[in-house]
């Protein structure tokens, strides 16, 4: 089983390695994630960065994640394209003929998206840290240090987990919806609506549901949510939430992949 999955993952990596469209999506992800931070640092300058990082108006670490949040949604297109794209082109027929035990293909693609998302997210985190702290340092403003455990946790967890998890959810939903853009749109709406509508719904909804959404749970995992705030979950509960969402999407898409006609 492990040997078969390893072989299949290698096969799917051939597609990733040679697909111009997937590389473009990855490049767009990196450009948005890092480019926005660069623009803010360049045009806003050290003064505005220093002001945000002082923590008077929000989290001290906020400047590290400006552009990356948008980049996460670009990576969601990567995930959706990697699954739904094959249905659009018809190539999925060859994929499922080569590997008729279809859930193995799903698992192999999932491993790849989780891996690439984690690595890309980590690179984005570190590059954004270097850009923002570099600008601040050059202008003799106080800088953050990765020796701070809280910051290290945020840098290592927040954007890598966001990219990996949203990319994975998008991949899994793509097996169900079988069209790339609609997959990302549905995922986007599904992630925002419960939070945006909370103010119009009973208090119990606003105090319960948003914190269990994947994005909020990852914020808690990364230590960016404050205890007592509406989005806060203890780390263990946040981990359960993230795994739970992946399992839910995985089971539904797995059943769809297994039983629906190609």
């Amino acid at each position: 089983m492990i040997g078969g999955l390893s072989r299949l993952t290698h096969a799917e990596l051939i597609k990733v390695r040679l697909s111009p469209s997937l590389w473009i999506l990855l490049l767009v992800t990196m450009l948005i994630s890092v480019g926005l931070t660069g623009l803010i640092a360049g045009f806003g300058g050290a003064e505005s960065l220093g002001e945000v990082q002082s923590g008077e108006t929000g989290s001290r670490y906020e400047i590290l994640f400006f552009g990356a949040t948008l980049g996460v949604w670009a990576f969601a297109f990567f995930g959706a394209s990697f699954s739904a794209g094959e249905f659009v082109s018809g190539a999925i027929g060859y994929t499922f003929t080569a590997t008729p035990r279809r859930t193995r293909v799903l698992v192999a693609k999932l491993v790849i998206v989780l891996g690439i998302g984690s690595i890309a997210g980590l690179l984005v985190s570190l590059i954004n840290f270097a850009i923002t702290q570099g600008v601040l340092s050059l202008n003799e403003y106080p800088t953050l240090s990765l020796n701070e455990p809280e910051l290290l946790r945020a840098v290592l967890v927040f954007i890598p987990a966001q990219m990996a998890v949203w990319g994975a959810l998008s991949l899994l939903l793509g097996f169900l919806i079988r069209r790339t853009a609609p997959t990302v749109i549905v995922l986007l709406l599904g992630s925002f609506l419960p939070v945006v509508t909370a103010q119009f719904l009973p208090t119990a909804w606003g105090e319960t549901v948003p914190r269990w959404m994947p994005g909020a749970a990852i914020e808690s995992l990364a230590g960016l949510s404050s205890p007592g705030s509406p989005g806060f979950l203890p780390a263990s509960a946040a981990m359960v939430a993230v795994i739970g969402w992946l399992l839910l999407f995985g089971i539904i898409s797995g059943l769809s992949v297994k039983y629906r006609d190609v």
Partner: protein, 232 residues
């Protein structure tokens, strides 16, 4: 051996296959022929597990395709050439398929020579003509040296020399005890390629036998039109 037993396939209110049965045996080339939209591709897809029958069974060597050990090594399949990923080079497609199916990639060079695509193997599939895509699809089907070979419309885009080459290839496979099942809407080509012919029309098997069984002294084309009612 490939066996379809009483397979019905319906999509909502539309029945695409209606209680069809056919057997393709080792050592012979079985031609599955019918007009466009008769259900040929749907039948082949039920054999390969890409479509689930509404009722009935489609088996290869007595088992559903997905239940075989190393299915893509035991069954070589040629699907729609238009669905081949255009961004891959021909050789990359075969490398991917070999990796995914657990087939030894050492055969790739030999197979490319056999389908006469070696000179174009390093070009992207989206630059291939239809005939080249067909040959690449055949390469995929032959890659695993499988005992069962299933080909969906293999003659599309092939010139007369290509069809003759294909005929010789298929007969070689049958002579070596392989089971070969091919589909086509072109009767003249199936006549040249197949030993055993199954005719399908509007989702129903209307004839099943050898060329002599079906046509006897008559012209096969006339027999075909009589059976299918397709005289467009």
């Amino acid at each position: 051996m490939i066996e379809i037993k009483n397979v019905t396939k319906s999509y909502r209110r539309r029945t695409v296959l209606d209680q069809i049965s056919l057997t393709a045996r080792p050592g012979e080339v079985t031609g599955f022929v019918g007009p466009n939209g008769a259900g040929k591709s749907t039948a082949l897809r039920t054999i390969l597990g890409l479509s689930r029958p509404s009722s009935g069974t489609a088996t290869i060597l007595g088992k559903p395709y997905a239940a075989l050990d190393h299915p893509a090594r035991r069954v070589g399949a040629m699907l729609d050439p238009e669905a081949l990923p255009g961004y891959l080079r021909g050789i990359d497609l075969l490398r991917w398929y070999a990796a995914a199916a657990g087939i030894d990639s050492a055969r790739i060079g030999q197979i490319l020579e056999r389908v006469e695509l070696a000179d174009n193997a390093r070009k992207r599939i989206n630059s291939y003509s239809l005939g080249m895509r067909q040959r690449l699809g055949l390469a995929v089907a032959l890659l695993g040296d499988a005992e069962i070979v299933i080909l969906d419309e293999p003659t599309n885009g092939l010139d007369p020399a290509g069809i003759r080459w294909l005929r010789e290839l298929l007969h070689q496979l049958a002579e070596h005890g392989r089971t070969v099942l091919l589909s086509s809407h072109l009767l003249s080509e199936v006549q040249q390629l197949a030993d055993h012919i199954v005719v399908i029309s509007r989702g129903t098997i209307v004839a099943d036998g050898t060329l002599t069984d079906l046509a006897g002294e008559d012209d096969l084309e006339s027999v075909f039109f009589d059976l299918t009612g397709d005289e467009r």
